[in-house]
Point group: C2
Chain length 343, copies 2
C-alpha cells in the first residue's frame, strides 16, 4: 500500500478544512484507494511552521493554530525553518498543497513555491489562481518532465470538477466557447437588489457575512470574474490569456431601476463570464447581461455558480455548484491529490 507524505504551505480556512477532510477520509482512502498518508510539514502565515519526517499529529497542529499557538512547538528537526522554500525543500513530502495568499499581479510567491516543489519531484496542488493565470503552461510542462502533476481544480467554482472534467471525462472534446456566472459576491449583490435593497446596502451585507472584502472593487468591477475567465481560457482552450485581456464591465453601472425593469419582464441581471474561440484566438468578456427564465443561469442564486460549455461533441453541457465554502475548496484539493497519485 503506497504511503504519501504531505506538506501544507498555508494553513488558513482552506488549509485547515483540507486537514480535517483528510482526517475524516483517512479510512476511506485506505479501503477505496489503497493508500495511507502522513502530514510531514505545515507552514502558516503567522503561527509558525513545523516539520516531522515521521508525521505530525494533525489534530494537535489544528488545535495549536486555532488556539493562537505556534507550530514551532511541534517542530521536530535540528535546524529551524528559514523560509517557505526552505520549508518545501526539507518537508520530506511527496505532495505540496500550496494555499498561500494570492497575488493577481504576478502570481508570486506561489509560482516560486510550486516550481520549487515540482523541481524536487513533488506533486503540486493549489487553490491559488495566480500561478494558473501567470504560469500554467510552464508549470504543467515542468511537472510532466518530473513525472508529477500540477493540478488546480479549486481555482474556479471551488471543488466542482471543471478542469478535471475536460482532463478526465470529456476525452477528444474541443471546447468552443463557455458562458458562466462565476463570481458569487456580485451574484449575491444582484439577488439582494432584486429583493429591493440598494446597491450600497447589498454590498454592506456581502461584507458583513464575509463574502465581499473591505474594498469590494475586485468583485464589483469584475476583476475576480476576469481572472477566472483567464484561467479557463488558458487551461481549457490552451490559449494563454491574461486578466487584462478580458473585455470587462462590472456591475457598478446597474441601478435598482434597471433591476426592477428586468424583473417586470421576467428576467434577471447576471454578471456573465464568456469566451469563444475566434479565427485568431479567443474573444473573452465579463459584463452584466439580461438572462431569461429559459436559461439555467436564471435559477443560479446567491453564492451559487454555473458554467455552460459548448463543445464540438455535445450540445451544451452545464455545471452548477450550490452552497460552496472552504470545505468544498478543500475537496477540490483532495480530489487533485487523488487524481495525481492514483493509476
Amino acid at each position: 500500500m503506497p504511503h504519501y507524505n504531505l506538506a501544507f504551505l498555508g494553513f488558513g480556512n482552506v488549509g485547515r478544512a483540507l486537514a480535517r477532510l483528510f482526517l475524516r477520509k483517512q479510512d476511506e482512502l485506505k479501503t477505496r484507494y489503497d493508500l495511507t498518508f502522513s502530514v510531514t510539514g505545515i507552514a502558516t502565515g503567522r503561527r509558525g511552521a513545523a516539520i516531522d519526517p515521521n508525521g505530525l499529529d494533525l489534530e494537535r497542529a489544528l488545535q495549536i493554530v486555532e488556539s493562537g499557538g505556534n507550530l514551532s512547538s511541534i517542530h521536530n528537526q535540528q535546524s529551524a525553518i528559514k523560509d517557505n522554500l526552505d520549508f518545501i525543500r526539507n518537508s520530506h513530502a511527496h505532495a505540496l498543497f500550496e494555499n498561500t495568499p494570492v497575488s493577481y499581479n504576478d502570481g508570486e510567491p506561489a509560482i516560486t513555491h510550486i516550481r520549487t516543489a515540482l523541481e524536487l519531484g513533488l506533486h503540486a496542488l493549489t487553490a491559488n489562481k495566480g500561478p494558473v493565470v501567470h504560469a500554467h503552461r510552464a508549470l504543467t510542462e515542468l511537472a510532466a518532465s518530473k513525472g508529477v502533476h500540477f493540478f488546480h481544480e479549486s481555482t474556479v467554482m471551488d471543488g466542482a470538477p471543471i478542469f478535471s472534467l475536460f482532463r478526465g471525462t470529456l476525452p477528444a472534446a474541443q471546447l468552443l466557447s463557455f458562458r458562466g456566472v462565476l463570481n458569487s459576491t456580485t451574484n449575491l449583490i444582484l439577488g439582494r437588489m432584486e429583493n429591493g435593497e440598494t446597491f450600497d446596502d447589498a454590498v454592506k451585507y456581502a461584507q458583513a457575512i464575509g463574502i465581499a472584502e473591505t474594498d469590494p472593487s475586485g468583485d464589483v468591477d469584475g476583476w475576480d470574474a476576469a481572472i477566472k475567465v483567464s484561467a479557463l481560457v488558458t487551461v481549457l482552450m490552451d490559449i494563454p490569456l491574461k486578466p487584462h485581456d478580458v473585455d470587462r464591465t462590472g456591475i457598478g453601472g446597474l441601478t435598482s431601476a434597471d433591476i426592477a425593469r428586468a424583473q417586470a419582464e421576467g428576467k434577471r441581471y447576471k454578471l456573465v463570464c464568456s469566451a469563444s474561440r475566434t479565427e485568431n484566438g479567443v474573444s473573452a468578456r465579463v459584463a452584466p447581461e439580461l438572462v431569461s427564465g429559459e436559461s439555467p443561469m436564471y435559477g443560479v442564486s446567491g453564492t451559487s455558480s454555473i458554467i455552460q460549455f459548448e463543445t464540438d461533441v455535445l450540445g451544451q453541457l452545464s455545471v452548477v455548484e450550490d452552497n460552496p465554502g472552504p470545505h468544498t475548496t478543500a475537496y477540490g484539493l483532495l480530489a487533485d491529490f487523488l487524481n495525481a497519485v492514483r493509476k
Copy 2:
C-alpha cells in the same frame, strides 16, 4: 502506437452517428491519444452483417446501410455469420459497441452480447439501459476479472458525463441523494402545455418530431424515468434497484388548469426523478413536482435534462445537458472507449 479493432453490434441512428464521429476524430485520436483503429465488424438488425479482419471500409458500410443495401456484400470471411454471438466471437475486435434495441424486462439479448464480449476479453461499451439495470454488478465484475471495462455513459443524459464523473473526477465522494429531470419527452410535453396546448396535442407533437413513441406510455407513465433512477442508484450508490422498486407517478394526472395555476405562481411542473440513501438502503421516486424560479430545474426546457447531486464533500453539484441527439449519445460511447483504453 496501439491499434484497436472495433465491432459495432447495432447500426441504427446511434451506431451510425458513432461511426461518423470515429471518422471525424480519426486524426485527433492519433495525435492526442496516440491510437489508431479499424472497424473489423458491423452487424445490423435488417441490413446484414460483415466482418473483415483487415478493417472494413466504414464510409462504404455507412453508404450501403443508408441506401438500403446489405452488408453481406462486403463480408470478407469464408463462413457466413450465423447470429450475433457468432458475430462477436469472430469479429477480431478489442472493443464491442453494443447498440441493439433495449429490452427493459430482462435486459436480453444485450446482456448475453456483453457477457460474451467480456469473456473473450473485449471492452464492452453500450448506450443500452437494460444491462445496467439488470446485470451491472455481474458484468462489471466479469470485466474486471478479464482486465477490460464495461462502460455505459450514454444510458443516462446521453453523452453528458455522469457515470464517469463519479468514476473519474469525484474521487472519495459519497453520493447521498440526487434529483433530476431525466425524461425529455415529458419535459417537452409539460413545456408545450405551459404554452397553452392540451395534453393530447402536446403528445401528438412529441410523436410527430420523433421524440415520443406511438405508445407514449413508457414516457408519460414515468417508466423511462424510473429505469434511469434505477441505473443511477445501482451504479452510483452501489445499491441494486429494479425499476419496479421506484415509487412512480407519471404526468397523466396533470391538467392544463394545474399547469396554468403553477405558472400564475411563477412555478413549473417537472417530472422529477429522485433518490436518497436511507438507513436501510435507498428511497427512490419519480413524480411531477412544482419547481420555483430559484431552482436550476426551472430553466431546463424542452428536451434538455438536469441532475443535481448531493454528496458528502460538495454542497450541491448539478449537470445540465441541452440539445441532445444521436450524436451526443455517440460521443458518450466514444468517451467510454477512450476512457477504457487510455492510461
